[in-house]
Point group: C2
């Protein structure tokens, strides 16, 4: 099995059906296959060797989707760069992966000189935009029109398909090596577990395609089903609403924040979103209030929540439509996909009893090949075939998994384990709090002290004591924040999570909190 | 991924749900897991080494299903023996695979001495029946109660999961080596392509479990979904009907002959079969008349036809519920599963134009590892990653595959290709014909001559000239049988196909018709 399989299948079954819709540009599978075969030919002419990494730094587009097919077609390896990263982080990932060819669009063309300054190995830059390319770059469209098509390499199975850099919230970036089989098994398992997506369906892409939820579940799942990819350059709630109605989109994948922004947008009232049957959201649980608004906005849709990580290509567990309908277990990340085994283990990798917090570990055909050039980190993460997620959680008696915290976000205060997520729920329920993050900071008396960093709602006030007193009505005293800090905004990761690494930095500078 | 994954998953999610129902015996997943872990312990105590083949020769039962889990759990390799084979064929397969341990039930215990005479390597025989085992055999239940449970080996991925002997209709048996990944990808692909089976569903097993349709699609698919296996020892239309109603079965897999026997059985009128939502049938197309009767017998069911072969673990293409509803393309084997690529190629492996007959070839994660100890046959069958099915067929412009004939059943007469299936359709449409098989026999003038072997309906008569004249009204003269032979019955394969090898034997003795 290889990533391009779905294109071959659609070329046989529905060559004239739309493969991609991007703005007013519609391309059939026949056109897409021709362009991909030519672009792969161009990549070979540019000297791409078997297994060489080829990068893309761009907003979503139909060309991004062609890139995802052309690189494996040419027997290259994908390196979809995180568009939220700083130039220094991007330089690190290009250097680490020895990426010599990079595709950029208008949004990122201006960043190229800085990347070139930091990394001398960038030999070719391809401009994905329309019109003439900036100086020193090649034109994407001229490459396609000028190249001879080549045969699909059809390399697949356990061969490396892509490097997916991750680790922004918890440490230095690592290149997750995923095979064709990893990605395809995860996509098949998703579809086998949730029999709701259908052949030829229209899938909306609003979340960035470098991210594995968009790439693995959204794009690859839709590709296998012969679906049409309706692509927005980036997330915008009004555009999402308008596009769904215009193109009769059936499946949508979002993060909860995006789902909330769509559900709360005034344009929902004026648009018919009943074509949507599947709404997948990942990254964090949904509240009952947001769920109710989402179900009103998408009256014909089933909701499902996925939990996973890049290293799992990306799916581990799912809270399915049935659980959403009855509204139970909404705090749960659901149960394992049919192709994944999940256990909760202690520090010695022994399974712990139900409802006991431990580390969530996963096993299956979706577990990564390893971290690029990091054998020690790989051996640490994948032990006995089990991917150690670094997430703390527990499982109930029906096999539902509850993610409690990142293991590294756990605070050890006075010998007691405190899970920051539990404290954040308590702090966040104070009526004056708009957002918060809870971390452990060094404390001479307690080892670590529970510390809350809080954004207040406009025109609201609260003191540290108010917060602390409020929390004590909800959770044990030793879990309530011993100190609070009020800020205007929290630094956020691309997936909408507070960057605790950044928040901890001033407190832990020079101390080795992160020795695992 | 490993075959036992579904059991671990169900043990977490629904330990007290029924795993198997066999007669009045119901066993939960908790019981099944305990018994499987003990049986695996017993296998290790009996000296089963990593990768050693363990055989089973038995009718269907809940113990058969436990066996299928315990062998991989103990890191052994499955060898489910074809129950329709002669002792000589079974001896060949045991010897070829060096199977030292064999499980047998009451139906096959009496065959053991003859097997022992032919093959000296059978060191242990385990009796699957109730009560005391025959002399020289071990008791299955005593093995389980006396053994310590062991940890699941959890060996999977590309590791060998089983040997599946095949080739009865076209040559000497070959051991098809299937990996865990082969079987699991095929089962996932089936579920991803047909989103109709649901978690916890009840699956009826009436076809023999050694066969890969029952084992791969029925058993493994149901296992992944946490389903309950309702098991009949063997196919019997009245028992199928009664069991479906009694246990509210949702999914059924049959061959078309079985489907016809159920649909035509008088007991259908007295039983409610509306619990059945999925009827899968494989092996050959369905006629409109049988389809209409099947849809009446199963009023709430969707029908789907699968085409494949053991070497494909076993699925290649599917004619889905939509095609059955509109009644179009019923002669087609459908389109590729989402995890399979199918092409029609000429003798040089170049893809032929649509609607041109060639050899059907398939590629994907389901393609076998190879034939056991037969590197030459493997290299001949799997070329460039493509499994050469040996089936002649064509593809239409929508990607539907039509199986025309076995390549080896193609007759070359006077330089013209004649597909036996086309001739059989013509002969079979004569009102006096109950069944027929068409083969090529040596002919001094034509090289090969089209020859029909015919079973007439009771109280009907027809001469060779009658048959020939009838055929000429339907197909070209050179395709009509030049000679006919009338017999009482045709030798049949386990899957209900005429054994053309047997029929050809008297004509071709000493001649090398089978050089490929």
């Amino acid at each position: 099995m290889y990533l391009t399989l779905g294109l071959h299948r659609s070329l046989q079954q529905s060559p004239d059906a739309p493969a991609t819709i991007f703005g007013d540009r519609v391309r059939s599978f026949r056109e897409q296959a021709d362009r991909v075969a030519r672009l792969a030919g161009a990549l070979r002419e540019l000297g791409v060797r078997d297994g060489e990494r080829v990068g893309v730094l761009a907003l979503n587009s139909d060309r991004y989707a062609e890139f995802l097919l052309a690189v494996p077609w040419a027997n290259g390896v994908l390196n979809p760069v995180n568009i939220r990263w700083s130039p220094a982080e991007i330089v690190y990932s290009l250097q680490d992966s020895q990426t010599g060819i990079l595709f950029v669009d208008d949004a990122f063309a201006s960043a190229v000189p800085a990347l070139g300054d930091g990394y001398s190995g960038l030999r070719t830059v391809v401009y994905l935009g329309d019109g003439s390319p900036p100086a020193g770059m090649l034109s994407y469209e001229e490459l396609i029109s000028g190249a001879q098509p080549v045969e699909d390499a059809r390399r697949g199975g356990d061969a490396l398909a892509g490097l997916f850099y991750t680790g922004g919230t918890t440490g230095f970036p690592k290149g997750v090596m995923l095979s064709h089989a990893n990605l395809l098994i995860s996509a098949l398992g998703d579809q086998a577990t949730v029999p709701a997506r259908v052949p030829g369906e229209r899938v909306l892409h609003a979340a960035p395609m470098f991210h594995l939820v968009a790439l693995g579940v959204g794009w690859l799942g839709g590709l296998l089903l012969g679906g049409t990819h309706v692509i927005l350059p980036a997330f915008d709630p009004a555009a999402v609403i308008e596009t769904i109605e215009r193109h009769q989109v059936r499946s949508v994948l979002l993060v909860p924040t995006m789902l909330q922004m769509v559900a709360d947008h005034p344009a929902v009232a004026d648009h018919d979103l009943s074509s949507v049957r599947n709404v997948g959201y990942g990254g964090s649980p949904i509240t009952e209030a947001v769920l109710a608004r989402a179900m009103k906005a998408f009256p014909a849709a089933s909701l499902r929540q996925g939990y996973g990580m890049t290293e799992l290509a990306p799916s581990a567990t799912m809270l399915g439509p049935d659980e959403h309908r009855v509204g139970k277990n909404l705090r749960s990340a659901g149960r394992p996909f049919v192709n994944v085994e999940v256990q909760i283990v202690d520090a010695d990798d022994n399974e712990v009893p139900r409802r006991t917090v431990g580390e969530i570990v996963c096993r299956g055909g979706n577990v990564m090949l390893g971290y690029w050039n990091k054998p020690e980190e790989t051996a640490q993460a994948v032990r006995g075939g089990w991917m150690h997620t670094g997430d703390a959680g527990y499982m109930d008696h029906d096999g539902y998994v509850y993610v409690v915290d990142r293991m590294k976000d756990m605070i050890v205060s006075g010998g007691e384990n405190v899970y920051s997520a539990e404290v954040e729920n308590a702090v966040g329920s104070h009526p004056a709090v708009a957002a918060c993050a809870v971390i452990g900071v060094p404390d001479p008396e307690w080892g670590e002290r529970v510390h809350a960093i809080i954004v207040l709602k406009p025109d609201h006030t609260a003191s540290a004591d108010d917060i602390r007193d409020h929390c004590k009505t909800l959770i044990a005293g030793y879990k309530a924040p011993r100190s609070c800090e009020f800020v205007d905004a929290l630094p956020m990761s691309p997936t909408g999570k507070p960057l605790k690494r950044e928040l901890r930095k001033p407190y832990w500078e020079g101390k080795d909190r992160y020795v695992h």
